[in-house]
Symmetry: C2
Subunit: 446 residues, 2 copies
């Protein structure tokens, strides 16, 4: 049997490895348009922070290992251009411009997502860069090394933009962030968002909200970003306005699309074609809270979905529960985490949400080093269900969010979650963990 995979990143390579392990005589071919496979894309901002570290440190497994040890037919520099679903074949071009064609019995589309680039003049100038793949990471690092970059403008204020702030400040670089939208971290409760905003101010990041971008032009210093508000001079512009699913191949092949034009898949990761799976940032998922299709591109889901596809291809039926949208990121000394729905997402999904915001402590009463943890929790007035949690603090946030994430998978009510027997010791938590204090408080609001 021939298992063909388009895309050699998280979803694609985990599918390839697991399928080969599960069925050693399976013929596994991977088409990857860049020269890199299997690297930690999420590690790039942290790598960029350190001028000495090699970007290739982020490579988890080298192409030769896949080829020589795992006997996977891994073809880098191969760009797939079309899928002929009836003939079950994929055609494309190599880097050298040669046409190729590969047949399949089962196909996995794992083409990921790409940064969306504002359609404004100047976003194609040298020094205007996005951070998607390892090649982008190398390019940014090389540019910073060669040009003695001292000022950077980041367009967009999502996870990657915020992580890049910290990374650039660590190298002594001045950073301005700008976006057209007037609200900082729109998905976040305003009280919590204000804490993150304050952390940016404390680290002297210029935050410019609500200014439409006009374009970028060359200047004496290097580049000049023009907006309907401030004019920002710099040597480098990073575009981080969000990503879009790479679903064009699937769309042209007539496959059904889901939210945000991601590729629609069922719980077994099968697309609308019985021989084609999709996994990773290009595919959608069911949200465990709403039960609806959602497009939330995150690394764990990509890996998990890759494995599930491999199991299905090799005859071990695997289905995935869905996603809760659990995410965490660091902004300087702050840990910021979320799981489930925000208030507005809950309203859109037809719930009658109530929310609470509490400020608790990271350690016990009188324990040295205790800092504030702020928690927002959302529940449904009708059913009593827990719908979502957001959290900000200087310690103990990143892993704390996993407890409500599990509760969302279990469909627990706020009351049930509030009865959870969570761990307590003075160096790690108050007797009532901040999660429980939030649940107790939210129950009063409901």
């Amino acid at each position: 049997m021939r298992f063909l995979i388009i895309g050699g990143d998280a979803a694609g390579m985990s599918a390839a490895s697991r399928a080969k392990r599960g069925m050693p005589d399976l013929q596994v071919t991977v088409l990857e348009q860049t020269r890199d496979v299997s690297y930690s894309a999420c590690g790039m901002p942290y790598n960029i922070a350190d001028p000495v570290r090699d970007m290739d440190d982020l490579i988890v497994r080298k192409a030769e290992v896949f080829r020589d040890k795992q006997h996977i037919d891994l073809r880098t520099g191969h760009r797939a251009d079309s899928i002929q679903v009836k003939e079950r074949k994929v055609t494309g071009k190599t880097r050298k411009g040669e046409d190729f064609e590969v047949s399949y019995d089962k196909l996995l589309i794992a083409t990921g997502a790409s940064p969306s680039i504002p359609r404004r003049p100047g976003f194609d100038l040298p020094g205007v860069l996005a951070l998607k793949n390892l090649e982008d990471g190398r390019r940014i690092k090389r540019f910073m090394g060669e040009r003695n970059v001292s000022r950077v403008v980041i367009v967009g204020m999502g996870y990657i933009g915020l992580e890049m702030c910290e990374s650039l400040r660590a190298r002594g670089i001045e950073v301005d962030m700008i976006k057209p939208g007037p609200v900082f971290l729109q998905w976040m409760n305003p009280e919590l968002a204000a804490i993150v905003r304050k952390e940016l101010d404390a680290n002297r990041i210029g935050v410019h909200l609500g200014h439409e971008i006009v374009g970028i032009e060359k200047s004496d210093e290097g580049l000049r970003l023009l907006s309907k508000g401030p004019v920002l001079d710099c040597q480098m512009v990073l575009t981080a306005v969000g990503v879009l699913p790479n679903s064009q191949l699937a769309d042209e092949a007539g496959l059904e699309l889901g939210p945000r034009k991601s590729i629609a898949v069922d719980s077994a990761l099968l697309t609308s074609d019985e021989n084609i799976y999709a996994a990773g940032d290009c595919a959608d998922a069911f949200h465990v809270v709403t039960g609806e299709r959602a497009w939330i591109p995150l690394a764990l889901r990509a890996n998990r979905a890759g494995w599930a596809v491999a199991d299905n291809v090799t005859g071990k039926r695997a289905e995935l529960q869905g996603v809760a949208g659990t995410a965490v990121f660091r902004v300087f000394d702050l840990e910021v985490a979320r799981t489930g729905l925000s208030m507005s997402e809950a309203e859109k999904a037809g719930f009658e949400p109530a929310e609470t915001v509490i400020h608790s402590r990271s350690r016990a009463h009188a324990h040295p080093g205790s800092t504030t943890i702020s928690v927002q929790m959302v529940g449904d007035r009708k059913s009593g269900r827990l719908l979502g949690v957001q959290m900000v603090g200087r310690e103990g946030v990143a892993h704390r969010v996993n407890a409500p994430a599990v509760a969302l998978h279990a469909g627990m009510t706020v009351e049930q979650f509030g009865q959870s027997d969570l761990a307590y010791a003075p160096p790690f938590s108050p007797v009532w963990d901040p999660m429980l204090t939030a649940a107790n408080q939210l129950l009063k609001e409901m």
Copy 2:
């Protein structure tokens, strides 16, 4: 209505405060035999570590606040000696030797637990101390200050003994631990227990297992602990061989007892007498995994049970789900956590348990500062249910254990838990959180 509470610690005082808030005209009386109420008992080892800090820093709320602001009739130095259930009254003696008698409509027994003291000669000598209440804490700290203590022997190797190790070493004191049992951390998977043991060795703690204690005698240095193995000289002996529920009053009043002679209560915290509740370390609870009665004295349960009693007394029906036995403690640079059942507990409870031990990382591949996290996970072969988790590591353990704790409350299978959408970012976790890696591995063993 008269609500009488015996015991002014976590369970008693949270019940008193909440009952008074819920029903301001309720007559609330608390009998506390010591002079201290409402302090963080779990904080004592950490307070002892610091010679400068005052033990009274651990007091969360002073007696006067309860009396003057909350109008609770708080009687410290009042020891209850008997409960007349028919007459609904409690009699006892004050510190000054005066008899007293208080009637009640509803009674809460919140008498806590006491350290068990080995019945061997010399355990009543000056310098042989236990750590139960704030007065004990003050006594230990005073003794250490006055006697220039340089060597301490700890009898027992439970949570408190281990926390005291760290605390004493922080003050430059040499520490030996001894216990008759041959197994270090008996409840713990041996591979994980060995990691904790190694941490004690690295911090030059003498660990003497499997030596029956003969007694303690005075010596030139101060005290000498005699065992059937080593003879240990020191200036102070700490007994930390575990605690026992203070259930004598309840027993003499004819109330039903549960495991380890704790006071048996239903999910509303009611004892076998319809007017008497019990809460805190003296009472039992239902275990959410086994459904059986269990005696697991921990601070969160005490506070939560106190609140539930207050709600029941003031007419707002409250029931508690039960406990998962979630606990965490720190031993030097290690975080040690558990939730649910160990292998032997699972076997005893009639499950067919399978276990796995995995060693993962605290941060992502290639992220600086990553350290090992070791996880043991237990599941039931018959039902597929998750039964318990144990974990050891230098960071990210304390809060990680809460995710499987919630899964135990929800009765999740290992497979369901393994599908949880947990948070990932390089500074905090590998893409597959150690919890998920353990679940994936355990599924193979089942």
